[in-house]
């Protein structure tokens, strides 16, 4: 028997696999048994009702999807009245993803949804900070620390800070989130990208730019998970292009305690369950008793090849 359970930011999960925010919804209950997931992560809600971005919202590029959805949100009332009760019948912890335009608004929303039935808050701080010329909170350490501190003051729930990969040195942001009191980091949101149709000369997304997600982003985000895991004492949840059990394991070896599965849910809606089913076999094959043993177990990152050391 192997132990798949992991501890992440104040919670114990039955296994390390959960959906990435925005790639999962109640409708998936027609396809998979939610009780088998490590956690349930809902689509980001905002304090206001938002319609989101114009069409086209999605296009495909090599190895990835480029999308610009724009966080459509029905607001906190709908979330509390419809979404939270729906998930109440499932055992895995419910993680509510939230976003807002100011640190205060983040705090107010966090307080509003700190109700029984929600186990943790994932703060999507990759959105524009309306008090700082619209720059994303998670692009600047001072904004990151301030917003996480404000959210922590507003809720008793664990707070997971979801960082943006669109930064120079993500370890600086990771340390700022830790200083603000985050209980875990989710690394990372989508890479900012763009695509142009060469026949029409027009952008392929209605919003011009969008988030790149899917297999192609994995090496980039994996590197960021590795850097963040070394920079902070917090658990890191890897999120970026996980398509199968090997990808999930790779993130854990890089330092992730748990893994979010995103874009592949759109293509293979039962894939999270397939990954969970494949994990025990992987662990047994490597003589490991616990999934948690994978976290940070990458080897040989310090040692240099003596031949190349000699060459200099």
């Amino acid at each position: 028997m192997v132990d798949l359970s992991v501890r992440v930011g104040g919670l114990t999960l039955a296994n390390p696999i959960m959906p990435g925010s925005g790639t999962f919804a109640d409708t998936m209950a027609q396809v998979i048994d939610f009780n088998r997931l490590g956690a349930l992560v809902t689509k980001t809600i905002t304090p206001d009702v938002r319609h989101g971005n114009p069409q086209p919202r999605v296009t495909e590029v090599a190895g990835a999807m480029l999308s610009s959805i724009g966080i459509p949100s029905k607001g906190p009332e709908y979330y509390l009245e419809e979404v939270v009760p729906f998930y109440a019948s499932y055992r895995p912890p419910l993680v509510a993803s939230i976003s807002a335009g100011t640190a205060d608004a983040f705090g107010v929303l966090a307080a509003r949804i700190s109700v029984p039935g929600i186990a943790a808050i994932e703060a999507n701080i990759s959105c524009p900070n309306l008090e700082e010329n619209g720059r994303a909170f998670a692009m600047f350490p001072e904004d990151t620390e301030a917003v996480i501190r404000r959210i922590k003051a507003a809720t008793h729930l664990p707070v997971w800070a979801k960082l943006t990969p669109n930064v120079g040195d993500i370890s600086v942001i990771a340390r700022a989130a830790e200083a603000g009191g985050a209980d875990a980091l989710v690394v990372a949101n989508a890479l900012l990208g763009m695509a142009i149709d060469v026949e029409s000369f027009r952008p392929r997304l209605g919003n011009l730019m969008g988030g790149l997600t899917g297999p192609a982003v994995k090496p980039v985000i994996l590197r960021m998970v590795y850097q963040c895991a070394r920079a902070v004492g917090l658990p890191v949840i890897g999120c970026g292009g996980v398509s199968d059990v090997n990808d999930a394991v790779e993130y854990m070896l890089a330092g992730a305690t748990a893994v979010q599965v995103g874009t592949v849910n759109f293509i293979h809606p039962a894939r999270m369950i397939e990954i969970i089913e494949a994990l025990p076999g992987f662990l047994r094959r490597h003589g490991l008793a616990r999934a948690a043993d994978l976290t940070g177990a990458v080897r040989g990152t310090e040692a240099s090849d003596p031949l190349w050391a000699a060459v200099g």
Binding site: T27, V31, A270
Partner: protein, 289 residues
């Protein structure tokens, strides 16, 4: 099916985490085997799959998400939504009519008999079809026909008479007239090449079909012009008007919000997901095709 999950707790003891009966999950990706995949004309192909029972539950207007050959190569990563052209429960077949126009459909065109295709569905909400409707009129252009054909078959099967107007650039591109006649629909063909597909001519034709027939519903798919006509006549005659929409999709089950469009909801505008709230909508609520 019983599922038992075990886990080793902190003291090294194995305990049972949960034991539960797996709930019935109605939706799954299933593999279909290609029976045939042949050209209909120089633009369209007709694909028939021997499919799993779950797929045979597809209703007119519903769609599948196809994992087309070539997925995972180049810039082709997502499934392709495709409406059901025909379901034959007797032969355990699901059929699709498609236009070869991009990476997904080019991949589909490469399938040979005996080949396999992963299909996820049936998905979405199909056409409303009431038993007491005496007569309905279908108005289709191009590949929109593929979506309306199973509606004609289902309507005739329940005793509703069907008139179908098929519109295309030229007569060679008219498809399924024989299939529709075979299932018992009255078929009228209009084309751009002889001018009979002009909006005013089609409107005149529609009015003729509706008069005195107890027509209860108009349905269309495939063009803004036809949508506008169906909306106007539906309002004028006070009858149901439905339209099947297409939109770029990622997930097909309402999770990603890629396929949303604005709809009229009374005096308000409401954002709905084509995959989940449709793809068939009340035409009066649709703002454009």
């Amino acid at each position: 099916m019983k599922m038992v999950d075990h886990l080793v707790d902190d003291k090294g003891e194995t305990r049972m985490l949960r034991e539960l009966a797996a709930p019935a999950l109605p939706l799954q990706a299933a593999t279909g085997e290609v029976v045939f995949n042949r050209p209909v004309n120089d633009r369209y192909r007709h694909l028939a799959l021997a499919a799993a029972p779950s797929a045979l539950a597809a209703l007119p207007g519903q769609f599948f998400q196809l994992l087309c050959p070539g997925q995972g190569e180049g810039s082709h990563i997502l499934r392709r939504p495709m409406s059901v052209y025909r379901v034959s429960r007797a032969d355990a077949r699901v059929e699709f009519l498609y236009k070869v126009r991009g990476a997904g459909t080019v991949g589909l065109a490469s399938l040979e008999p005996g080949g396999r295709l992963d299909i996820f569905g049936p998905l979405g909400r199909g056409f409303r079809l009431e038993r007491e409707w005496p007569h309905i009129v279908l108005l289709a252009r191009g590949v929109g026909l593929a979506t309306l054909a199973p509606l004609a078959e289902a309507a005739v099967a329940q005793g509703t008479s069907v008139s179908a107007i098929l519109s295309a650039e030229r007569p060679e591109l008219i498809m399924s007239a024989d299939y529709l006649r075979e299932v018992g629909a009255e078929v009228t063909i209009v084309t751009d090449s002889d001018g009979s597909s002009a909006p005013e001519r089609v409107e005149e034709l529609m009015r003729g079909l509706v008069l005195g027939r107890g027509t209860a519903m108009l349905a269309t798919c495939g063009s803004n012009r036809l949508l506008a006509l169906v909306q106007r006549l539906g309002r004028e005659f006070g009858i149901v008007a439905q339209v099947a929409l297409e939109e770029h999709m990622a997930c097909g089950i309402g999770m990603c919000y890629c396929c949303v469009r604005p709809f009229k909801a009374g005096d308000l505008v409401e954002i709905r997901r084509v995959c989940h709230d449709g793809p068939v909508f009340d035409a009066q609520e649709v703002m454009s095709w």
